[in-house]
Symmetry: C2
């Protein structure tokens, strides 16, 4: 079914409608950050602890810069080998198919399939910090932003895009120089922000390759999950995700009907002659 | 006028319609590649040479991860200080304003304003390799992909996204170890690709901080520009850009009309009750 979602098979709507009553129990975690920050090692370690607690874990790796979709083909997934024999861990890499876009939406639908298949934890891992990645990790309950000590020097990372989406910061490779300094910088920047929720964004220190700090990270995740449920934010977030998906589906339906062959011809005929806004106006006024 | 374009002022359509007859003479160059590859140094050097040749140069820096728009505020633009006093160089940084998207479209419109203002060369520089960046650099005549010798190890960069868009590869910091090796890898990968045009993608070696290889790069740019004009690809590319812009404008117009308050209410009422595809179908069938 996941392959069908990825291939945008025509049966997908009816499948997902049927699954819908079973969707909504999984806890969805998004993890983003710059390349090389150790995101997949953290995912690996978090998965191990969740498995020890008897949870079933689905991992969706979203790579908008890659044309390779299916399975877990990326080089850095080799490390996940230990989970391959485990039926209660499901790993899927998703990538851009051609130029159609919609990768963020499809990753959510794959998440719905796993959610309905009784996976308790869904981890959405992205490879970078571009717009698609932000779209992916915003469609979750808890967003982890992973940095490394060296990120302190990198003003790029301090940009609002990442600050706006983080529920939890992780400083990985925290045994390296500069970790506590970056922690201070983050704390200061977080203190300056207006806080409109009861959730104070924590900064976790990990050293994922050694397994240090992962238990603490898991406790932070659980406490954010509880916070969401108690505050009602869980429902607000879920509703927001559904709203966005329906809007996109409606838009696709409307525009497919709109582009009749007459309007297409008017578009082609006007391309060399009219300014874009003028041509758009003419097409919009065609009956 | 550029600020008005960025702010999506209501007069923008009529302004751009008026400008349209004066748009279309500038040569548009896109430059992308991973952070730290030296893109802005290359832009700086290329600009200097174009200025020596008496060309007026517009530089549009697009940073979809930043909330800071206007002027040239980014740290790495400080280096461009030498051009600030030059009225024939115009530098503009553009960033995401909220979540509205459309950054790629707006950067093109800013390009149109500069084109109409008789800038000969427009350089679109992006900070990373995400989807927005690809959208930006695809909307140009010539796309430069900048790599560094270390990129050879980085399978991420070898992904099709970058290969599909490059008209010219630049290996910057080519005095470092691994430059000629990366050059060989690129040559091999390029030889394996199907070549459906007469343009063989060149690999240029530069060391931008020293100014090495920039003259050769400029010659390559000029020869690609000539190739586009002779082969008719110039018109095909321009038409493709216009088509995409008109489609987007039409889509905005249609959807703004579509979302009546009745349909909005149906959406909100159905959010908790219906599966997304089912809710979308119901809304699409409302009259």
């Amino acid at each position: 079914m996941i392959s069908r979602v990825e291939n945008e098979s025509p049966q997908v709507p009816s499948y997902l409608n049927t699954l819908y009553p079973h969707v909504g129990t999984a806890y969805r975690i998004g993890i983003t950050g710059p390349p090389g920050a150790g995101k997949s090692t953290i995912v690996d370690q978090v998965t191990r602890l969740y498995r020890q607690a008897g949870k079933r874990v689905g991992i969706i790796v979203v790579d908008p810069t890659s044309p390779f979709t299916g399975g877990a083909l990326l080089g850095d997934r080799l490390r996940m080998a230990e989970h391959y024999l485990d039926n209660d861990v499901f790993i899927r890499s998703m990538a851009t198919r051609g130029q159609t876009g919609g990768l963020a939406a499809r990753s959510q639908e794959v998440g719905d399939v796993l959610d309905a298949a009784a996976f308790d934890i869904l981890i959405f891992e992205t490879v970078g910090v571009g717009q698609v990645e932000l779209d992916v990790v915003e469609a979750v309950d808890t967003t982890l932003v992973v940095l490394v000590p060296e990120s302190g020097d990198d003003i790029q990372l301090m940009k609002a895009g990442i600050f706006e989406i983080a529920d939890v910061f992780v400083i990985n490779k925290s045994d390296r120089e500069g970790a506590s300094q970056l922690g201070h910088i983050l704390d200061q920047m977080l203190a300056l922000r207006e806080n409109d929720t009861e959730w104070g964004i924590p900064v976790c220190m990990t050293s994922a390759t050694r397994g240090t700090g992962i238990k603490e990270l898991l406790r932070v995740l659980e406490s954010h999950h509880e916070h969401l449920q108690k505050s009602g934010m869980h429902t607000v977030k879920r509703r927001g995700r559904t709203r966005q998906r329906v809007e996109r589906l409606v838009s696709q339906g409307v525009m497919t009907d709109f582009w009749t062959s007459e309007r297409r011809e008017a578009l082609e005929a006007g391309l060399d002659a009219s300014p874009p806004y003028e041509l758009a106006r003419v097409i919009l006024e065609m009956s």
